[in-house]
Symmetry: C5
C-alpha cells in the first residue's frame, strides 16, 4: 500500500494519495515536503517508488526490502553519475509488546530522509505511523513542516511505545521477587529465566538503536538542521534511560535468582533438619526398646522392682530433654 | 510559589520577592544578578516565568516541567530568531535519605543558569535551596555575587547531603557482616539483598550525575568563568569519591553474601554431621539388641555364663570407642 | 593448482587459464583485471606466482604460506627499490561447519588485492571460491569488473556461509534448554559445555575478523574505491550481527547451565525429601513395635483389655496423621 | 610543627628552621630552594604559612587542611589579581602497614610544589619525610637541588614503603592456600575474606594514585623539568607493578575461596558417605535380627537344624560382601 | 662475561671479542654495527661498558642492573649536556618453560638499541642469544646488517620460545577435562587450580610485553627503520595470538572447574540416592519384623492359619514392588 502526503513548508496539507508518476514533479518543488509511506508494499510498488521515483542507492533499497538484523543509519551522498538527492537511510526497530508470546515483538521501520522528502517502509501496520499521520493532518504541532521534524516525531513515538512494556516488566519483576522468597519451585525458576531472557532481548534491541540515535544527537548529519538536534538528543536521552532501566532489571533478576537458589537449598537444609530431628528424638525409645527386646535368660534388670516403669520414665525423660534441647536451639 | 532575589555584583541583596512583570527590567540591568526559585509552582506560574520572562527554549521548559529520568546538562545558544539569552539547562537529583522506605528518595532540581540569572525549579521544598538562600542573604561568603558561584554552592550542598546517607549505609553493612557470620537466616539474606539494592540505586543516581559534573570540571561551558572551574572540580571530586565508596560497598556486600551462603550451607553440613553421629553412636547397641532379640531356639550365646553382662560390655565399649574416635576427630 | 582469469573493465572474460609467464604482460595492461587463484598449490607454484610474477613483499608471502593464527589485513606500499605495485594483504577465515567433529572447521583464505589484480591462496577447495568464479563467468552481476568488487563478493560469500552453522547452533541450544529442565544428567552437562565451547570458538574466530572488516568499512584503504565502501560496510554489519548472536548464545547457554545445576541439586533435594518422608511415616510403627517387643515381666499394657487393637489403632492413626500432614504440605 | 630548610641550587644547606616572617625574603631569592614541612601543624601555623607566606589558592588550602578522600594533583596558575606563584597541589596517600588492625593505614601527604619551593603538610610524622630530610642534609644524592627532585625522592620513598606490606600479604596468601586445603573451617573463611578486603583496600588506594603519577610520567606539568620526567615515570612503573601484583593477589584469593568452598562441601559429602556406609553395612544384621525377632508361632526356620548358625553365617557373609564392595569402590 | 661482535653494513663479521677500550673507536665508525652482549656480567664489567663506553642515562643503567618487574620500552634522546647517542631501552621477559616447578620461569633480557649498536644484558645464559649469534655469524639471513634487524630476530626468537610451553599447557588442559569428568577428586581440583595459576601467570607476562611490542608495530620509534616495522608487527601479531590462546585456556579451565564442581556434588547426590534406596527397600521387612516382634498376649494374627507365610509373602512382595518401582525410575 502506498500512502503519500505532500505538505507546504507551513505544515499545511497540499495534496494526498498522489499517483506515483506525479511524485517527481512534487519532489522538484522545494516548497513542498513529500511523505511517502509504504506499508506491506509489493516488491513492484516498492521498486516503483524507491527506484523509479527516488533513484535510491541499490544497497539501501536491498537493505530496506530484506529484514535487517540490527538498526543502523547511513548517509548517502550522490556521486556525479548518481541520480538521487543526498539522503539518510535508517533502520529502526519499533516495539510491539502485547506479550502474546511473552517476548518483545519488534517490527522494522525503514526511513529514507532527504531535504524535502521522507519515505517510510514497513511490513506491518504501525501505530507510530498512524498516530503521526493523524497529528500531521491536524497540523497543530507543525510537525509536517519538514522531514527532519516528521522523522523526530516518528522516533519519539517509537521510543514512547517502549514504556508500557517496561512498566509491565517492572511489575512482573516485583512479583517474582515475592515468589522467589515464598514459593521457590520449578515454575518460579522458569519464570525468572524467562523474564531475564526478555530483558536481555530488550537490551539487545536498545543497544544499537541507541548508537544510531547518538549519531543524531551529536549533530553528525547535515540533513538534520542544527536547531532540531536538541529534539533528537531528547529522544536519545529517553532511550538511554530505557537502557539503564533494562540494566537495573537485569541486576534485580540476578538478585532474585540468588534468592531463589538460596531458598531452594534452604529447603533441602530444612528437610535434612527434620530428618535429623526425627532420628534424634526417637533414639532413646529405640535404644531402650531394642535393648530390652533381647532374649538373654538372665537379664537382671527384668528382676528389679518397677523395672518397666523406670525404663519408661528414663525413655520419656531423655526424649523430653532432647526435645527441649532442640526447641531451645530453635530447630522448630 | 515564586521566590525571587536580586543581588548586586558585590553580593548584596538588592530587592526581594519581586513582581513577575518587574523581572525583565531587572534582568536587563547587567549589574544585577537575579535568582528565581520556583517551588511547587503551578503550571501557570512556571510558564509565566520560564516562557514570558526568560523566553527559554520550549524543549528545556518541557524537560523542566516533566520528571526527567536522568541528570543532564545542555547548553542553549540562541539563533537570531530566538529571544532568550544563552543559558545552561541542568537537571540534578538531590538526595533525601530519611530511610522511611529504606530507599534513597531523590528529588529533581532543575537549573537555568545564564550570565546574570539563575532559575531553579523543584517540586519538593529542598534543604539545599533554603540553606543556600540563608547563606546568600547573610552575604558572608559572597556566593551571591554571580549565578555561577550560586550554582556551585547549590551543587556543593547537594553532594554534601549524600554523606549522612553513606555513613548510615556503612554502619549497616558492618552490622550485616556480623549477622551473616552469626545468624545466617532468611532475614539476614533479605537484608543483605535490600541494602545491595539501595547501593545499586545510589550508583545509578551518581553515575550520570558524575558525568554532568565532569563537564563542568573540564571547563566545557563558557558561562562558568575559568577561575570558578576548580570549585566545580572539587564538587566533582567529592562525587567521584562517593562513587568509589558505593563501589566498595558493593564489593563488601558481595563478600557478605558469600559468607552468608557459606554459613547457610555449613549449617546443613552440621546437621548432617549430627545425624551421622547419632546413627553411628547408636549402631552398636542397635546391632546387639536386634540380634539377641531373635527367637531361635538354640542360640548358644544364651547358654554361656555371663552372657548378658558380656554383651552389655561389648556394646558399651564399642559405643565408647566410636564416641572417643569422633571426639578426637573434632566432630563435636 | 593455479587457476587464472582475466576480465575486461566491463566484467567480460578476456582469457582463462593463462600460462604463468604470460601474466606480467596482462598485468601491465591497465584495462584488464587479473584474478589468480592458488588452490593446494605446491611451494614452487606459489613462489613462481607470488615472487616472480607479482614480486610481493617476502613477509606477506611467508604469512600466506604458513598457517596464520588470526585474521588480519596489511597495506603494502612499495619503497623505490621494491618491485611490487601497492597492494593489500588479507587473511580471512572461511567457515566450514559440517559438524563432523562438532566444531567449526575454519580454513584460511589469503588475499592479495591490487589495483588490477587479485590473488587468492588457500589450502582446501572452498565453496566460496567456486561460487564466485561461476558468478563472475556468468557476468550477470558485474562483480568481475574490478578486484575490489570481486573481493567484496568473496567476503560476502564467506560471511553468508556462517549462517547455516548459526541456525544449527540455535536449534541445538533450544533443545538443550528442554533437556536441562527434563533430563539433567551427565550427558546434558557435557553437551551444554560442548556447545558452549563451540560458541566460544565461533566468537574467537569472529572477533578479529570483525576488526579487519571494520577497517574496510571505515574506508581506510585507498585500493577500495569510495563508492564500494558501503558494500564492505554491509558485510561488516552482517558480521557484527553474527557476533551479537554469538554473544546472545553464550548468555543463553549460561542460563541453561544455571537451570541444569539447579535441576541437578533439586534432584538431590527430592531424594532427601523421600528419605525423610519414609523415615517419618514409618516412625510410629517402629516406635510402638520396638517398645512392645520388650521382655519386661510386668508391662501393664499387656494386661489391659483390647491392648493390641488399641496399639494398632494408635499406630495407624498417627501414621495417617503424619501422612496427611505431609500431603497437605505438598511433599508428594 | 613547622620545619624549614633552604638549599642552594647546588643542593647545599643554606639555612634551617627559619622564622616564618623570613620566608618571603628567601622565596624571592631564585637561587634558593625552600622546603617547608608542616607536621601536626595547628590551624594557625598552617594558615600563617600557606596563606600569609605563599598566598596559595583558598581551595587548595581547604583541600590540604581537610581529609581528602582520594589522591589528586591540580595545577594552579595565578590570574593577574592572584598573589601566588604557579604551583602544583598534590595529595598522595603514604602507606603505613604495621598490621595492627590488619588493615593498610594510609596517611595523607599534601604537596605544594613551585619553581623554588616545596611545602609538605601531613598530620602524622612520616618515615618518608624524615628519611628524605636526612638524605637531603647529607647532600650525597643532590636531591636538594630543586623542588622537583625533592618531590620525586619523596614519591619514590612512599612507593618503596609499599613493598614490605606486599611481601607480608604474599606470605599470608601462600599460607591461606595451604589452610584452605587442610583445615577448611570458619576461621579460614574469615581470614580469606579479611585478606581479600585488605587487598581490595590496597587496590582502591593505588588506583587513583597511579592516575596522579601517570600525569607526571606523561610530562604534563611544566613545573617538572623534562629531564626529570623519566624519574617520575620510574615511580609510576613501580606503582603500576604494585597494582598488577594486587590484581594477581585478588585472583589468587578468588581461587583460594573456590578451594575452600569446595573443601567445605566435600566435607559434607564425606559425612554423607559415612552415614550411608554405616547404614548399608548394618543392614543385613538388622534385617535378619528384626525378622527372626518375630513371635509367630510356627516359623519353620526355627525348626530347621543349625538354623541359628546358618542365619549368622548369612548375615556375616552378606555384611562382608557389602564391606568388600565399598572397599573396592574406594569409599574408605 | 662480555661478548662483542662488530659487523659491516653488509652483515659480514668485522671483528670479535674486542677489548673494551677499543669499542668507542668502532662505535665512531658509522659503517660498523657493534653488538655487545653482557651475560652474568659483574657490576664492574657492566658499569665499564654501559657507563664508560656508551654513557647511557643513569636511570636506564639502574633499570638494567636491577630486576625490573614489568617489560617496558623507553626512548632516550640526549640533551646537549648528555654524552650518549639516542637509544631505545627495552626490558623483555624471555620464557624458559622446562616445568621443573610447573611454572613459567622468565628471565629478563635488557636491550639498548642505538643507530649502530645493540647492547644486550641478561643474568642467565639465554638460548635466544646463542641461536641469534650463530645465525648472525653464518650471515645467511643478513640479520647482522643493522641493530634493528638484530633486535627483531631476538624478539622473534623470544616469542617463538613460548610455543612449546603453550603446546604442553594445551595437552594438560585436554587431560584435565577428561579427569574432571572421570575422577573428580581433590588432586584434580588441585591440578586444575595449579594450571589456572600458570595460565594467569602467562597472561600477566604477555600483557605488558604486548604493549611494548605494539609501540614498535605502530612505528613509534625512529630508530626502527620504516621498512622493518612490518617485521615487528609480525612479532606483535604472534604475541597477540598467544595472548588470545591464553584467554581461551582460561575459559576452558573455568569450564573444567564447573564440570569438576558439578561432578563432585553429583557424587554426593548419588550417595544420598543410595542411602535412600537402602532405607526404602528395607522398610517393609523392618516394619513387619518389628511389628510382629511385639509381645502382646493376644495378637490375633498369630492365630490365623498360615500367618507367617502370609507375612513373609507380603514383605517379599512389597519389597519387590519397591525395588521394581525404583528400577523403573532409573535409580540404579
Amino acid at each position: 500500500m502506498i500512502r503519500s502526503l505532500a505538505f507546504t513548508t507551513q505544515g499545511k496539507l497540499h495534496s494526498r494519495n498522489l499517483e506515483v508518476p506525479l511524485m517527481p514533479t512534487l519532489l522538484a518543488d522545494t516548497n513542498l515536503f513529500l511523505w511517502v509511506d509504504l506499508e506491506r508494499a509489493t516488491v513492484e510498488e516498492a521498486k516503483l517508488v524507491l527506484e523509479d521515483v527516488f533513484h535510491f542507492h541499490p544497497l539501501s533499497i536491498e537493505d530496506c526490502l530484506t529484514v535487517s538484523p540490527s538498526p543502523k543509519v547511513e548517509e548517502y551522498n550522490p556521486r556525479p553519475e548518481d541520480r538521487f538527492a543526498p539522503y539518510l537511510f535508517m533502520v529502526i526497530h519499533a516495539v510491539d509488546y502485547n506479550r502474546k508470546d511473552g517476548l518483545f515483538a519488534t517490527s522494522e521501520l525503514n526511513f529514507f530522509l532527504g531535504k524535502n522528502f521522507l519515505v517510510t517502509y514497513h511490513d506491518e501496520p504501525l501505530r507510530t505511523i498512524s498516530q503521526t499521520e493523524e497529528q500531521a493532518l491536524k497540523g497543530t504541532m507543525q510537525i509536517a513542516r519538514a522531514p527532519d521534524r516528521m522523522a523526530h516525531t516518528l522516533l519519539d513515538s517509537i521510543v514512547e511505545n517502549y514504556k508500557p512494556a517496561l512498566d509491565e516488566l517492572s511489575l512482573e519483576i516485583a512479583e517474582l521477587e515475592q515468589q522467589a522468597l515464598q514459593h521457590p519451585g520449578k515454575e518460579t525458576l522458569n519464570k525468572i529465566l524467562q523474564v531475564k531472557k526478555e530483558v536481555m532481548h530488550l537490551r539487545q534491541i536498545i543497544g544499537p538503536q541507541r548508537e544510531v540515535l547518538a549519531r543524531f544527537a551529536h549533530g553528525e548529519f547535515k540533513l538534520i538542521r542544527a536547531h532540531l538536534v536538541p529534539y533528537y538528543r531528547d529522544v536519545y536521552d529517553a532511550l538511554f534511560h530505557i537502557g539503564e532501566l533494562a540494566q537495573a532489571y537485569t541486576d534485580s533478576l540476578t538478585g532474585i535468582l540468588q534468592v531463589y537458589l538460596n531458598m531452594s537449598s534452604n529447603q533441602t537444609g530444612e528437610v535434612v533438619k527434620l530428618l535429623t530431628l526425627i532420628t534424634v528424638i526417637t533414639t532413646p525409645l529405640m535404644m531402650v526398646g531394642t535393648w530390652y527386646g533381647m532374649n538373654f535368660h538372665d537379664m537382671p534388670e527384668f528382676g528389679l522392682p518397677h523395672a518397666y516403669p523406670t525404663a519408661a520414665a528414663i525413655t520419656f525423660l531423655s526424649t523430653a530433654a532432647t526435645f527441649w534441647y532442640f526447641k531451645r536451639k530453635k530447630w522448630f
